[in-house]
Each structure stands twice: as C-alpha cells, then as structure tokens.
Amino acid sequence: MIETAKKLLKNGDVNIVIGYSEGSQGRVRPFFARNEEEAENLVYDNRCTQNLAMYVSKKEISKYGKPAIVANIHTLRGIIRLAVENQIKDGDLIALHINDKDEMTVCSTLEEIETHLATVTPQISDEDKVMIEKLDAMSLTERRNFWEKEMENCIKCYACRQACPLCYCTQCTVEVNQPQWIPVEASIDGNLEWHIMRAMHLSGRCISCGQCGDACPVGIPIHLLPMKLSQEVKNIYGSISGMNRSEGCAMATYQPGDKENFIG
C-alpha cells in the first residue's frame, strides 16, 4: 500500500492520500500523506474500521487536489453512495481497497468499486444485530422508553452528524432558524426530534458503517436508528445503499407501484 501510495503521489496521479496512521495509545487515526515521505507513515490493519469517505468533501482536504483513499468496505460504500447523490463523479478519486486477506485492489473508476462491492455481502456487527433484534422485539412503548432514556444523555454536539459521510449538507435542518424546525437545546423533545429528523433523512441512504454511534461522546448507539431504517427500505424497495450507482434514491423517488400505506 505504501509503495502504491508513493507511486501515485510521485507520478502526480493524486495529490493526497487519505489513509490511516498510528495514533495515540494504540489507536489508529485518519492520516493524510501529501508526499512520498509522509506516505511512509500509512498503516492498514484491523483497527482501521473508520469510514474515511467523509473527508472527500471536506474543504481542508479537497484543497490539495485529487485524493487516493485507503478504503475499507464502509469507505467504498460511502464513495458509491456519494456518487449516487452526485457528490462525487467518476475520476474524482482513486480507492485503495485492502481485503481481509491483505490483498490490495486499486480502483480508479467507480465501476471498479461497484464490481468489487458486488462480490461482498454487506454485514453489520454482531453486537448491532443483537441490539436491532432486541429493539424489534420490544413493544412500541418499550422502544420509545429505550430511546428516551438513551437520548436523555444526548448533548446535541452533533458529532454523529459530523462523523457521517452522508451528512454532507452545508446547512443542516437543525441549523435553520427561520422557521426553527428543531429546538436548538438538548431537551428531551428537542433531542427526539433531532434524531428522528436525522434518521429519516438517512433512511435508505445510510450505509450502516456505524460511525455516528462510534463518534458519540456519550455512547448513545445512535447508528441503530438510520441502520434500522435502511433495513426497512431494503425490505420494502429492495435496494441496499452504497453498493451500485443504479440503486437510486428510494425515499426520494416516486413510482406508481409504490406502497404508500403510511400516507393518509
């Protein structure tokens, strides 16, 4: 990977390589190599679970020019989803994907990423599976109580939003104040509204990377909401997000055959 990154930088194929490096206390952290020397610091192993796709749209990174991005499955799916939503186009980036067997594939086109994704079955972690099953088994009241209890802890820092590759809006609904759609303060109602709004906006778009939950400083498993909604969208419309550009936008497309039993 380091050699490929260096070559890409040297030949001017890319200007920056978005990847991981050793961090503090045994963690890895997002890392940005802008020259061959910096590329020496890149690492990749099973600690690299973070989705780096959200850096693609960040000004601080895009100012350097075309990126190559060290991509786990989450990141690849993030890239495809961003392409579906017209945030990235073919040729904007090169993805360096490394599989569990430590083999690297260099994807220069979105099609190559799609071809690769077609060979994998998207999975969520066992812990998340158990939690979603538990939530499914709850009655409506129990479920509401569960979320209210969790959301009591929410301090509305929006770390979940910032960490999400698909929360790229330059103005989020929570920041619109004329009219004020969502109460700004971290009150019970405000928190619930904020999270329902976010989950709805991500339904069928969320690529289930779990990053929002990981980012939450108070440990709310907030990723379960958009994840669950994406599962629902898959069940109803059959599309899984972040796999292929043909998947479209289930929740933003009307088709005459759509079930609409939840409206009116």
């Binding site: 961090g23 601080e60 960490a163 303060e185 971290a186 400083p217 108070v218 440990g219």
Partner: protein, 341 residues
Amino acid sequence: MNTQIKILKSANYIKLLQKLFDHKKNIYGPVRQGKRIGYQKINSANELATDFIIPDMSAKSFVFPCIEKLFSFTKDKENVEIQNLNLDNIPEKIIVGIRPCDALGMKSLKAIFGRDPADSIFQTRLERTTFIGYACNQADDYCFCTSINGGPGNTEGSDILLTKTDSGDYIAEIITPKGESIVASAPELFEDGSGLDKQKYLADVPKRFDDSNLENKMKAAFDTNVFDEYAIRCIGCAACAYVCPTCACFDIQDRTKGSKGERIRTWDSCGLKLFTLHTSGHNPRETQGVRWRQRLMHKFSYMPERLEVRGCVGCGRCSRRCPVDMNIAESINIITDENII
C-alpha cells in the same frame, strides 16, 4: 480555612450518605449505565460506580447546564415584560465522586462567568453545590493533570476530598466551610486522621509536556502551520468541547410560543463552523485548523492572560472521546517543541 484531615471508614461513608439522604439532600454521583459512567441523581449509596477512571461527561453541567433558562418574557402589543429567573429556586446539590481535575475546572468556569458582569445564575448554582471529590487511585494514558499544575490528589475546588486507602477506608480532607458543614451533619462518623499521608494511594500520572512558558510558546506558534497540520483530520464535531470541564462557549436562543417565551442558554463550541459564521457568509475562522488554534490559544494563552487561570485541567476527556484521535497533550507537545517554532 486550614484543611483538616480525618478518617472516614468505608462503612461510615455509606452511613454518611444515608444520613444525607435522610436529610433529603439532592445527591448526585457517578453511576454505571452500560458502558457509560455518568453523573446521576442517586437515592442509595449502592448506585455509585466504584471502579472507574473518570465519568464520561464532566461535572460542569451542575453549574453550567447543557440547557438553561435565563429569563422569560411576555409580549403585550408594544410592551415586553421580562420575568427574571427566581434564583431562590435553584436547588442545593451535593456531588460525590467528582475527580480533582473536574473540581479544578470549576476555577476556570468561575473565572469565565465571574468576569464583570458576573453571571448570577452560574454563581448561585456554584454556591449551592458541594463537591465531595474522589482522589484518583488510577489513571490512564490520556490523563495529564500533572502537566498542568493539577494532580490526582489536588484539593482545589473540592469541599471534601476522599482518598481511598488499601483497606477501603478513606482519608478525608475537609477543605472548605461547605465541607465542614457536611462533617457537622454527622461528626461521629469521622475520626481524627492528622498526620496521615495520602500520597502513596494516588495514581502515578507522568508529565506529558513541559508547561513552563507555555503562554508565550503558544503565542509564538500562532502564525505557524502547526495548528493546520495537527487539525487536518479534525471533523469539527465539537465532542471535545462538550465533554470538557472548562469549555464554556454558549449560544443564546429564544423559545417562544405565541406572545410568551423564554430565553435559554445552550452549550456551543468554537470548534463548530457555525460558531463564527457571519450573516454575510464570511467566516473569520474559515478552517478547522484555525478553530483548533482558537481552542488551544483560548485555553493556554488568552485565559491565562486575561483571567489568570488556564482553560484546561488535563482530564484528557477531549482526547479520549475524539473520534479521530486528536490528542491535546500531543498537540501541545508539538507546539512546545522548540524545533517547530
């Protein structure tokens, strides 16, 4: 007042809490909720978490809540009538299990909210809160209180500081009159402990950087690219500020319904893009690097200069909780490294 040293047997500590419950005191302490350690109102000593390094959130919300009402207002045609908050309604609280860093953080908050004009709501909350701290007998690699004039047994900000000894009993330092009044509610539970030394029970927290002349080193770094370079991975999520015991940025909002409403104060952060965005669209702190610089400069240069206290107590929470491993001690280390400046 001079600190008095007493012994509080572990069984007596439970009795003390029981007595305080009996007196209908509002007691809050660190409680384990799944993976989380959070401050919660408790009704029995059993609820308290025992084995933890530091609660996930700091204790700042007791004096500076995440959301608080400042006043209410009613509009009647052209007249607006303001109803001030009745400070008498702010309840007394006892917080047990606060760590020395969090207690020291109160000093920074006091300096910020005490600046003319002093914030009476904050001051009343602080006056009505008693802190029974726990000295740290364990620390992790993120803790750096000792690099910043604090320490695992620092008493500043606590009213009573309890240090757990090997037998499970506590060395109790009674630091303030508020602490004394707790002792006075059950004097029979405390035994004389003069001469006892808590030092050997404290966690070992190595120094992570040299803080001498830090203020000037920060200033010298202002125009260099160290901040941009360090913050290149920062995603501007503000988790760092929200978990910090001393960060005090806030936003003011009106919550209205018809002709009535209330003005509220909520936490905010200088790390957020929106914090400095002007209506014109111009943002004087355009990039995350500049926002990171503001965060550090404010804590280690502006606050010492204007308020004579630093805005960081080395609790390490921001680094622990940062989703992209921004480590404040490391960042300061880079800045204080002569070669870089």
